[in-house]
């Protein structure tokens, strides 16, 4: 999300903002909302409506939806394909951040590489940017668990040889696969609604801490996109347009300029590609290119990728005051779990600038701006 704020507006407020975000957004293992309860009927509407459901409840605006992949709602969600277990697991967790590598970050634009595109996206040097990284929470984990059980049988039924049982599968046209797609899209819509609720909390928190009216804080969604999903898209293969199921995992969609699925205001630019780095260094906003569309089915990198396993990271962080180290660099961190923080130390990740440079040089997507963190909340 972009804002109408500059770095100077936050001077002396970053600590309070991080504290406020941490207080207002339920974070950590099994985190859940205490301020509202969803009925089964409501949850069904969430699964069908995605971010649109949240906006209809007053958590956001129509403009937000314009800036979300598929306007924040994947058609084809089938709540009836979702198990009672997934519903039970997901219901209390809507509007929460979760744990692991999920975060909300307050950043500033530290470098601008492409002034024209940055301007068109509404980005400027020293501007305050907020990044949210979370998904479908326990709901999605349970949808996956249920599908894995179903697919164990389907793999045998359809006589598919696989090298690892986690890769169990079924032909896309089979009833098993169709059911899974209906459940997966329900999970995607849960995730869109989840992020929309958090967006709303971010706006409220900024207004509260800075003691300004929400419209003066002017926090607007730049883009919101999935990075672990299978979607049906048309791409050119051997000179012919083909309808494909593209699964992006640890990757994100990067549509080229002119693509009809882009928000109208971005259509001449290409899709904004959000690449978070580790919490101590930087993140990037890139833009989709025709070359990426031709060579990678319109896909780009999603993050830096880990360099150290979680166990190795904890060993490397042992005995260190990580919060203090980051504070000395001007980054204020609040975390629900101490181990999460240790697992997520900056050196646990590859340098995202190297990853982004490769993607940029290969022409898969192009660098627009670099963001640097000021405040981070971790699950």
């Amino acid at each position: 999300m972009g804002s109408g704020l500059s770095r100077i507006d936050l001077a002396g407020h970053v600590r309070d903002l991080a504290e406020g975000l941490f207080r207002n957004i339920p974070s950590g293992v099994g985190s859940h909302r205490k301020d509202f309860k969803l009925s089964q009927q409501d949850l069904r509407r969430v699964l069908e409506g995605g971010a649109g459901w949240a906006v209809a409840q007053g958590y956001g605006t129509g403009r937000d939806l314009e800036h979300i992949e598929e306007k924040g709602c994947l058609p084809g969600a089938q709540p009836e394909a979702v198990s009672a277990r997934a519903l039970e697991r997901g219901r209390p967790q809507l509007g929460s951040l979760g744990s692991g590598n999920h975060f909300v970050e307050v950043d500033y634009v530290a470098e601008v590489y492409d002034t024209a595109v940055a301007q068109a996206l509404g980005l400027f040097l020293d501007q305050i940017i907020i990044t949210i990284h979370t998904g479908s929470r326990g709901f999605g984990y349970q949808v996956c668990d249920d599908a894995l059980q179903l697919m164990q049988k389907a793999t045998v039924k359809y006589g598919i040889a696989i090298p690892d049982r986690q890769l169990c599968c079924a032909p896309l046209t089979s009833p098993e696969a169709q059911e899974y797609i209906g459940a997966m899209y329900s999970a995607a819509n849960f995730a869109f609604a989840n992020r929309q609720l958090i967006t709303h909390k971010v706006r409220e928190t900024f207004a509260e801490v800075l003691q300004r009216a929400p419209k003066d804080v002017h926090i607007e969604v730049i883009y919101d996109v999935c990075h672990n999903i299978g979607k049906f898209e048309t791409h050119v293969v051997d000179g012919q347009p083909r309808r494909l199921c593209v699964h992006r995992k640890g990757a994100t969609r990067a549509l080229p300029p002119g693509h009809p699925q882009l928000p109208e205001v971005y259509r001449h630019l290409g899709q904004p590609v959000l690449v978070p780095g580790d919490m101590g260094r930087y993140s990037y906003v890139l833009i989709g290119t025709p070359q990426g569309s031709a060579e990678t089915f319109a896909s780009s990198c999603h993050g830096a990728g880990r360099r150290l396993s979680r166990t190795q990271a904890k060993k490397a962080a042992r005995g260190r005051a990580i919060v203090r180290e980051l504070e000395d660099q001007g980054i204020y961190v609040r975390s629900a779990g101490r181990a999460t923080l240790l697992e997520e130390i900056p050196e646990a990740y590859k340098d995202v600038s190297e990853v982004v440079d490769v993607v940029h040089s290969a022409g898969i997507s192009k660098k627009v701006v670099q963001l640097r963190p000021l405040g981070v909340i971790k699950g």
Binding site: L148, Q166, R306, T311, R318
Partner: protein, 145 residues
């Protein structure tokens, strides 16, 4: 730190980029299943801090032994995610390699007493193995974090 105190008769953690795994040991299958479950809670928290105050009965079926282990651990993870129940004792009965019934005991998460560090999203089938080696059983499980 969870998983830091070694319990080599019960399990050993496995480091895996991005994720976390374990190898659990048992004299027989019921003990293997009990140890695997204890190990999972020890990776999430510190299993020695959990008191057996509440009892739950579980019955889990699967297509084979490896599937059974994954579903057994998934059922316990579901209890944790929905009821905040951390478990520490597991009395398992396997009548056949595709069905386990168990009485498990534990207590709801108390952040003041239970260090909670690792959120396990899911139990995976990745590199799953349940094997009998020299009269003992061992199982390898990778968790999605």
């Amino acid at each position: 730190m969870p998983g830091d105190t070694p319990h080599p008769d019960i399990y050993e953690p496995l480091s895996h980029t991005g994720d976390l795994g374990m190898v659990a040991y048992g004299q027989d299958l019921p003990e293997l299943f009990a140890h695997a479950a204890w190990a999972m809670f020890d990776l999430m928290s510190d299993a020695t801090t959990i008191r057996p105050q509440r009892t739950v009965t579980l019955s889990v079926s699967a297509v084979d032994l490896e599937d059974l282990l994954v579903r057994w651990l998934s059922a316990l993870l579901y209890l944790y995610d929905t009821q905040r129940l951390l478990c520490c004792t597991f009395h398992c009965t396997l009548c056949e390699p595709t069905h386990v019934t168990a009485t498990v005991a534990g207590e709801p998460l108390d952040p003041d007493r239970h260090p909670i560090d690792t959120e396990i999203k899911a139990v995976t089938y990745h590199q799953i193995a349940v094997e009998q080696i020299a009269g003992h059983w061992q199982a390898r499980v990778i968790f999605d974090l």
